[in-house]
Symmetry: C2
């Protein structure tokens, strides 16, 4: 049997795990600096918690977990008879795999409402699963890194998210543009052209502007039955989408001007703060997901052509689906896999010392091996990552292993060294070697 893994999933080798942990650690540190606390939720949720939260397309992409035991006993007989997979599923699979971190968070907040001090700031770094067709850069299992706050409608958090993005990417050594918009501005545009009923169509079409250009956006709107007057007006706005112009245009629209007021408030908080990356209001930013109702945020790389690295926004009714109405939430999500890909492509990862093996002990016979075992442990207790080659085989074989694993130093022990207490200490990079006491070697390794 030749082993394989499911399509769309990946193994991570040591180098990849360490690089990814580095990204997670930077994000986690910044989240904590801003007062966010970690939670974790189960990988499996009740399917009823997940279904209907991500649109019809999302429901199809949920991984469902088969009930255990003799599941056919409780299977929907009618659905079975009709061979109707969709209808059968709820009766044979009551659990589903986490699709994102937002819905589980909303569920968590409602379940634990009595233990939580609101406003509640939480972060969560866990994998999610989606049955997307596997393709380059898109996987069925991937990590999300989310920070959300629930129980406050203060715009201070939108401003903080701009700072969080700025500080994370500054620390990662990446250059990005942080884009800001407000769904109320898009609603204002819809109201301006009397197409409120087409608000979702409008956001979905504008969301594609980057990819397909303004003409095709117009085509999409036309297909949805929007009038030519409205389309021409929208085209005109999108061609030169300056914030000042839209402020002027929407001045008297109740909902649009509210959106502008919110954006201006966010900008006021940021005034006078040194931000290393670009921040811009982009009225063509729409963010596909429909549950956003206020500010929306997105981060794009300035150095590498790739989709957005982060997204986020405000949703006025985060927990309504679970029976807790009128609670405002705002949150952001880092796409760790894309950030990894950009850093890898642009060679941005620093030399990561986490877990790097510093020294290998090489023994030339059985007695030296026993002696070397104790020395290795002494080094480890001094905080040095050290190992002994498992057996006193030929020196050449042991050195080859040390080279293949890029271990920077080796200690070589023969019977002379054991007797004199002066051990051969070899720099594997330069090839240089000296005879030193264990104490001197220890201090050299701790340098």
């Amino acid at each position: 049997m030749k082993p394989s893994i499911p399509k769309g999933t990946r193994d991570f080798n040591p180098e990849q795990v360490i690089k990814r942990s580095y990204i997670f650690d930077v994000i986690k540190d910044v989240f904590q600096r801003f007062g966010y606390q970690p939670i974790e939720t189960p990988s499996m949720e009740n399917l009823s918690t997940l279904t209907g939260k991500y649109g019809e397309e999302g429901d199809k992409l949920l991984f469902k977990v088969l009930n255990n035991g003799d599941y056919l006993v409780k299977a929907d007989k009618e659905a079975l008879g009709q061979r109707d997979s969709t209808k059968l599923t709820p009766s044979i699979a009551k659990r589903g795999m986490r699709y994102d971190l937002t819905v589980p968070f909303a569920r968590y907040v409602v379940m634990h409402r009595n233990e939580i001090n609101f406003p509640f700031k939480r972060y969560q770094i866990q994998p999610v699963w989606r049955a997307d067709r596997p393709q380059k850069g898109r996987y069925q299992e991937f990590y999300q890194c989310d920070a959300d706050i629930v129980g406050s409608d203060s715009l201070v958090f939108e401003a903080e998210y701009v700072l969080i993005f700025d500080q994370v990417f500054d620390q990662l050594g990446m250059e990005v543009t942080i884009k800001l918009n407000n769904r109320k501005i898009l609603a204002g545009i819809a109201s301006l052209f009397d197409i409120e009923a087409h608000f979702v169509d409008l956001t979905v079409a504008i969301d594609k502007l980057d990819k397909i250009g303004p003409e095709k956006v117009s085509d999409e709107l036309r297909k949805k039955g929007i009038s030519e007057t409205a389309i021409r007006g929208i085209e005109d706005l999108l061609k030169t989408p300056h914030y000042d112009k839209i402020k002027e245009v929407l001045r008297d629209d109740p909902i649009g001007s509210k959106g502008i007021e919110e954006i201006d408030n966010v900008l006021k908080y940021l005034e006078g703060i040194e931000i290393k990356n670009n921040v811009e209001v982009d009225i063509t930013l729409a963010r596909g997901l429909n549950y956003y109702t206020g500010c929306i945020l997105e981060v794009k790389s300035d150095e590498f052509e790739i989709g957005s690295l982060c997204g986020g926004g405000r949703y006025d009714d985060l927990t309504g689906n679970f029976g807790m109405k009128g609670v405002s939430g705002v949150g952001i999500s880092f796409g760790a896999a894309r950030i990894y890909d950009v850093m890898e492509a642009l060679d941005k990862f620093p030399a990561l010392s986490e877990g790097v093996l510093k020294v290998i002990v090489v023994a030339l016979d059985d007695a030296c091996h026993l002696f070397g075992f104790k020395i290795t442990d002494t080094l480890r207790l001094a905080g040095i990552n050290a190992e002994i080659y498992p057996s006193p085989v030929k020196l050449k074989k042991q050195m080859k292993y040390a080279n293949d694993r890029s271990i920077p130093f080796a200690i070589i022990i023969g019977s002379d060294e054991m007797e004199s207490g002066k051990l051969v200490f070899k720099n594997m990079t330069t090839g240089e070697q000296q005879k030193l006491s264990l104490e001197s070697i220890k201090s050299k390794l701790k340098e």
Copy 2:
């Protein structure tokens, strides 16, 4: 709709996540000190990779993931007609959730054999899923922390695992006994009483000795058709299971004496090394799992009545199932959930400062809030975990939030403070407050 989570799963609140991370970090640090490197494998494996690896009982406890799309099209028609769940499963679920970290590791080694330098030391800290009946302290999703080495039969690793256990539990402040045995000793006992054919029955029965006592072990053996002579002999051995006695008894048994030689070799490596916890050879240690073939290890708490905290052992043919024969492996696993429960019960967790919010900024009006926002960011850029209360509501409400979240310090800003630049700095524990410049506050917070 009242939200809930599947039986046997858990949410982790911030305190729990931080405490658990502390345990993971200690284990990870020690693994790295010994030269182990991290890998990660997908949560979902092909069901064919998992099936048949954990015995019949294990197969039942695997979570299977329903195929996406119209899965009934490819369903086994005969099984459907017969309403045979077990027979139907392979045709509608090709993926299963990871049941442990050992089988995925073996699969990884075979798939990546050409990129790996052997001997390969890897650690892996990831959740696993088992459809066990949920009960107190037993969950369907839990973390395993494993370190394994593949491609060497050196007993140096068994000795290292004793040190790893010792150093981890020493760092965690727990007192444990590290037990050591060898399956070849058990095989020797079987051979001594001419019951080689009953070797598995023997290990399974001895494995229960702790729980059910020697009489019931004899009953179990009797049920399996083992002769009274053999049972009496085994009972006699188990009553005073001294290592010296068993050494004497098995001296001339080829397999048993090999087991003793291996144990003695492990002990020789450990001679003269200061070990903080108890280490003992326990010939009644059996470890239920059948794939172990050499040394076996187990860790028990000396302070708290609970099952084993860790287990491990040598398996001569780790990767044989995946077509790579004759490769020896040895590994250990930490049960993080049990370790957590013991530490919690005995109040062993230190005060954990990770991610603790150090200070909250409290503003008394809108202008102060804008000013406070900038101050908060200055503190954060100085490495201090800080937040501003989202809006300038009544002082009392802001202070209540600070108290509820146990934030140790508050900075209070009114218009006087804004003008003078001397801010009110309050110690939330003592209630003491002073007027200080931002610079002085910064240094106090960094102390």
